[in-house]
């Protein structure tokens, strides 16, 4: 997963490094260049002074050492010269035992020459005519102190650059964090949405985010609306089909047909098949499954009315208890959960002698639902058979069995699992494990 923060940081670092290095290098280069051209004029002056120090002597040209600056006398002073005349060469005393190498081109030398004691020399060569003879005068100056100070400037620059980069990064992190806060908020809201803690996203977001949030909200509303509409349509369809079916059931039990038991039996069987199939398919089509992220089931609010409904339907003295942590919300569609629990409890009430217990708990992986009864239970070897019954409708025993078909459909739509076990109460325990909704 790419993080915007990280990407921005990497981009900023790269950009600052390139620009900073380029800037530093250019300024060093410019500094060096201007210093050299400044030193060049000094060296030119020196060369001319040297030229004037050459005097005509009795045996040709002589260098008048009295006219030379003292720094040419002191060894390794950093100021050196060399004068090449045809057949004659003068060297400054300061060179001592080292050599100032002649160069091929006149003017300031691009490359720094090697001097004594690892000095780097900036060298100027001037070509002159004196006393009718061509002369090449080399004047050199130790450039090492300049190099040193340049390096120092570079070091200071680097340190300041790194510090600036660090500060900028921190600043950028803070800015980005600030700018992305609405995004983070939206992310949190989406998480809440998935846990069923809110129904839609907050619309108070920056305009860049508004289309996204608006679209998500629109999709949520649309999905909910579609679900409602299709449930309504299914309800209407069911109504349209089931009422005539009720008429047919009534007709099939008419007095006249009592005389024709075979036809009556056949009729009733077929009608029952239609009813079963229709009920199952309509029930399955009503399921919301996982499509509605904002849906939730509020245990405290829904369970009491479900329990009293069951008590009214069964009317026997069944002690129906439910246990769920106060405020527990299942992040699932309300109608789906009601359908699941209603069928499970209805079933348990049918078989129980006197006691039915519902427990809902949250676990690390999601939710766990137990429905226990103290009825006859199901023998261990028959449990898997009971569960697999209802995979195919025509295998179902009509009107009997556990009515687990729709329960299985719901659990499957949720990606959960269902198991039948021995209950502590003595009867059957149905255990359903549901995963927490997978994060998008």
């Amino acid at each position: 997963m790419k993080s915007i923060q990280r990407q921005l940081s990497i981009g900023l670092i790269a950009m600052l490094l390139v620009v900073g290095l380029l800037l530093a290098q250019t300024s060093v280069w410019l500094f060096d260049k201007s210093l050299r051209s400044y030193l060049q004029s000094g060296l030119e002056d020196e060369a001319q002074t040297l030229l004037l120090a050459l005097v005509r002597g009795p045996e040709g040209i002589l260098l008048d050492s009295t006219r030379l600056s003292a720094s040419y006398q002191r060894p390794y002073s950093g100021h050196y010269f060399r004068i090449d005349a045809p057949g004659q060469t003068w060297r400054s005393r300061s060179l001592w035992d080292s050599e100032l190498k002649p160069s091929s081109t006149p003017g300031l030398q691009q490359a720094l020459g090697d001097g004594p004691q690892a000095q780097k020399l900036l060298t100027y060569r001037g070509d002159y005519q004196r006393f009718g003879k061509p002369l090449s005068i080399y004047v050199a100056e130790d450039y090492t102190p300049v190099l040193k100070s340049v390096r120092r400037v570079q070091q200071i620059g680097l340190a300041m650059g790194i510090a600036a980069l660090f500060v900028l990064l921190l600043l950028q992190r803070w800015l980005v964090h600030r700018a992305l806060r609405p995004l983070e908020q939206t992310r949190k809201q989406i998480a809440q949405l998935q846990q069923g803690q809110r129904a839609e996203l907050d619309n108070e977001v920056p305009e860049e985010l508004l289309p996204l949030v608006g679209q998500i909200n629109h999709l949520l509303a649309h999905t909910e609306e579609t679900l409602k509409r299709s449930r309504n349509a299914l309800g209407n369809l069911g109504h349209a089909m089931k009422t005539p079916l009720a008429v047919l059931f009534s007709l099939a039990s008419r007095e006249e047909l009592v005389q024709l038991p075979e036809i009556r039996k056949n009729l009733e069987d077929q009608l029952e098949q239609i009813e079963q199939r229709m009920g199952r398919e309509l029930g399955r089509a009503r399921l919301a499954g996982d499509v509605l992220p904002g849906a939730y089931f509020d245990c405290d609010r829904e369970l009491p009315s479900l329990v009293s409904t069951l008590a009214m339907i069964h009317r026997r003295d069944i002690n129906l208890q439910w246990h769920a942590k106060p405020g527990l919300r299942l992040a699932r569609d309300r109608e789906d959960v009601l359908e699941l629990l209603g069928n499970l409890l209805d079933n348990a009430c049918k078989w129980a002698n006197s006691q039915v217990e519902l427990r809902i708990e949250t676990t690390a992986q999601g939710y766990c639902i137990w429905v226990d009864d103290d009825g006859p239970g199901i023998a261990e070897e028959k449990r898997s058979e009971v569960l697999s019954r209802g995979i195919r409708l025509d295998e179902q025993v009509s009107g009997h069995g556990l009515g687990l078909g729709i329960v299985r459909d719901i659990v499957e739509a949720w990606g959960g699992s269902i198991e039948l076990e021995q209950s502590d109460l003595g009867g059957l325990r149905v255990q359903i494990t549901l995963p927490i909704r997978p994060h998008i």
Partner: protein
């Protein structure tokens, strides 16, 4: 027992009216929710069978209106919408029982019988029993000890009403209100005749006459 059936699907209503009449109930049939709301509030029905998907006014609203007006007759909701969330809504609105369509006629019959027994304080009995008599509603006869006494349809209707209200003084007009539907002729002499028939079968003192007040079922076998 006088029942109100509110159902807009005519073939089903026809079937139900026919089968309920065979079981000795006086049945009024209405198809519109608004009519049901007003008529149910006026006529003394012993039980109402209410469809939820009604023209005019939804069944749940009709039910809520009745309950808000303090009417406490048992109401059996009959609906094709059988999901649990809808059942809960129905019972919250004040229904006493809930049946999803399609249903077996026998089951409806049993539910009606048990609702009526419950409404008259006989919640945990599977038969109507009063003063040593046991009424067999499916065969429309009455047992006294080991003896079985056959009844005509009219006698069965009358005796069932008496046995659900043992010890209470019931006037002739009250009996007529609960034994005949809204459309049949009411002749109090007919009731007198049936009371006499019952006395002949069960004993003179089983039903006593309170002059100017009406009849009272004592079940006295003397």
């Amino acid at each position: 027992m006088r029942l109100l059936l509110v159902e807009d699907h005519v073939p089903l209503a026809d079937e139900l009216v026919a089968s309920l009449s065979r079981q000795g109930y006086a049945v009024d049939w209405l198809a519109d929710g608004r009519d049901a709301a007003s008529q149910g509030a006026v006529e003394p029905y012993d039980l109402v069978i209410l469809d939820l998907g009604l023209p005019g006014k939804p069944g749940l609203e009709v039910l809520q209106e009745w309950r808000a007006a303090g009417l406490s007759m048992p109401v059996l909701v009959l609906t094709a919408r059988g999901s649990w969330s809808e059942r809960i809504e129905g019972l919250k609105a004040g229904a006493d029982d809930y049946m999803s369509k399609p249903f077996h006629p026998e089951e409806l019959q049993l539910r009606i019988q048990s609702l009526l027994r419950r409404a008259h304080g006989l919640a945990n009995q599977s038969h109507i029993e009063a003063a040593g008599l046991r009424l067999d509603e499916s065969r429309q006869c009455v047992h006294r000890g080991d003896d079985e006494v056959d009844l005509t349809a009219a006698e069965f209707r009358l005796l069932r009403y008496f046995m659900l209200h043992p010890g209470r003084i019931l006037s002739k007009s009250h009996l007529a209100d609960h034994l005949y539907d809204g459309e049949s002729e009411r002749d109090s002499n007919v009731i007198e005749v049936h009371v006499n028939h019952l006395r002949r079968k069960l004993g003179r003192d089983a039903i006593e006459t309170r002059r100017g007040q009406g009849y009272r079922f004592t079940g006295d076998m003397a």
